[in-house]
Structure formats: structure tokens, C-alpha cells
């Protein structure tokens, strides 16, 4: 890993204290977020705030299984996020497909298509686990280890090839948006 300049170190420490997240709520994991955000666990005290659009967000939460159809959208959305960007995989579905491991339409591992910085195991993970993961992510960002966005750039061809392998094409036409 390259040495970070002092500016990058400062920037990274700022980034670690201000995490704006875009939650891509595909599965049951979305249900765990409200308790994490509200009074009981209060995510905001770590500077974590939900954001409405990928342009503004720093991290993307993939809360559950992804099928081919949603994966396309995830990739598209991920590419719309501004660097540096981080991905958090929620639950076993993003790790190995979970209970959908043999489905004809559900992918098995997310990091094969986009770089994932932190996985949260469990089906589903409790808010404590989520906060733990965020702490870990913050640590990683501070140390400059959360370099998924760099890896994605460096190994873009590999990721692209994987995406093509599973999806055919990333961009598709959809009669309801024509």
C-alpha cells in the first residue's frame, strides 16, 4: 500500500468521522436500520447520517440478497457515488448467498462484483453488530485500509469481467422506462 500524504491522512480521519450512507434496501436487513438510527442506538452520534442520493453518500449499505436484476442497479449506483466510497455487505446473503445459495437469479457473493469493505455476518445482524461493523469501518477508513474504491479502479477489468459473466450486460433496457 502506498504511503498516504498528510493531507490524505487528515482527510481520512475526517471521512471516518462523517459517514453518510446510502442504504440499498433489497432484503430484510432494512428492518434493522431504524432501531440503529433512532433513540436506542443512535447512529448519528458517530456522525453517520442517511443520505438520499448516491452522489452525496460515502458508504453503500447492501442490506440483504441481491438478484441479477438488483445487482445491475447496485453496480450502476455504486459507480455514481463519489470517491472515496465504501460498501458494507449486510448479512449472509451478501457473503455467500445465504438461503438463496442455489437460486437461479440470486448472486452468491457480492465482493465478486464490487469491492466490499466490511461484511456483517448474521441473518440478520442485530443493531449492535451493525454499530460494531461501523466502528470497524471507521477504524479502517482512519487507517486508510478501506481502499475498496481504489481496488475497484485498479482491478476494474476483473470486476467488469465478473459482472459480464453473471449478468451478461450491466446496462439493460426496460420497457417501463422507455
Amino acid at each position: 500500500m502506498k504511503e498516504r500524504t498528510i493531507w490524505e491522512q487528515i482527510a481520512d480521519s475526517f471521512r471516518s468521522r462523517s459517514i453518510w450512507m446510502l442504504h440499498y434496501c433489497t432484503g430484510c436487513g432494512a428492518m434493522e436500520l431504524p432501531p440503529t438510527m433512532t433513540a436506542r442506538f443512535d447512529m448519528e452520534r458517530f456522525g453517520i447520517t442517511p443520505m438520499a442520493t448516491p452522489r452525496q453518500a460515502d458508504i453503500m449499505l447492501i442490506t440483504g440478497y441481491l438478484n441479477t436484476k438488483t445487482l445491475r442497479r447496485v453496480i450502476y449506483t455504486y459507480e455514481q457515488m463519489a470517491d472515496p466510497k465504501y460498501v458494507v455487505g449486510f448479512g449472509s446473503c451478501t457473503i455467500n448467498g445465504g438461503i438463496y445459495f442455489d437460486s437461479y437469479s440470486t448472486i452468491n457473493r457480492l465482493d465478486y462484483y464490487i469491492p466490499v469493505d466490511v461484511y456483517i455476518a448474521g441473518c440478520m445482524p442485530r443493531p449492535e453488530a451493525i454499530l460494531e461493523a461501523f466502528n470497524y469501518l471507521m477504524e479502517k477508513i482512519r487507517k486508510g485500509e478501506a481502499d475498496g474504491w481504489k481496488r475497484y479502479k485498479e482491478n476494474y477489468d476483473w470486476y467488469k469481467q465478473n459482472q459480464i459473466r453473471s449478468l451478461g450486460e450491466v446496462y439493460v433496457h426496460d420497457e417501463f422506462h422507455e
Partner: protein
Amino acid sequence: MTSSMSNLVKILEGFNPFVEEIDEKEVKITISSDKVVAVLETLKSNGYSHLSLMTCIDWIDDNQLELVYILFSWKNGGKFLVSTRIDRNDPKFVTVKELWPVARFYEREIHEFFGVEFEGNDDMKPLFLELWDEKPPLRKDFDPRDYSRKKFPDRKYEKDVIKEAKIFRGEING
């Protein structure tokens, strides 16, 4: 079977149906495929105007596909399941989109997942699956696990007892 439904079943007797009572308000009528449209029309004109669902079942052992139309009446809450079987090797049937415009989408779906052709319905573009390149996925002879293995590589999982134990104890972060 409520009285109104049994009256209706009597009307339908001319079509030579096999009637099966599932519930008090739910009747299944199995019928040969050439009489389906006539039965559906009769039912529709007798108040069963809502096509709740249209679906398909793959009877691979009989080498048949079963098409099921579920009709619902808003007047008395009764439900008719009109069922028919068609040949699995040459799955063709007529469209009912003239009776229920919404059937267009059910038929597209069935075409996509079972490969049934509906004569008269030209719009057979894929509805759910994007860029699908295999045989229809809900046919019994389609092996999703195989497909998944081919398309979606899985994580190699090596058992490391010590690491697991450490994670369990909270010494390291998995």
C-alpha cells in the same frame, strides 16, 4: 359450495368438467383444453369477472403443463379455479387477453418461466428476467443449482478452527 356456485356448475355441466370442491367458496374445475375459453366466458358473464391469477404448473412425470385461471366474483366472493392440461413438449395455448386485458402480463410471465406460447398474444418479451439465456427456469428439468454454480461463483470456504475460535472469543474481528 354455495348454492349460486353449484347452480353455475350445473350450467357448466355441458362442458363435461371434473369438479372438485376445495373450500366453501372455492371450486376447481378441470376441463379439456379446447373448452377452456368457453368456460371462462361463461363464468365471466355470470359474475366471475375478475382474473385474480393465471399460473402454470409443470407436471414433468405426466409430460404435461397445467394452466390455472383463478376467477373471483366481487358479488359473492366465490372463486373458481379453471384448470386445464396441455402438452409439455409443444406447449401452446390460446390467449385470453380479449377477455381480460391484464392476462397479457400473466401470459408473458408464463411464457417466460414455462415456455408456453399463447397464440394471439404477440407481445412475448421477457418481463422479469433480464438477458436470460437458458431454458425457462421454472420447468422441473431446469437445475437452478447447476445454473447458479455456472453463473454465480461461490465463496471457497476453508475450515480454520483456530481462527473461528479466536473470532468467537472476540480476539480478532472476522
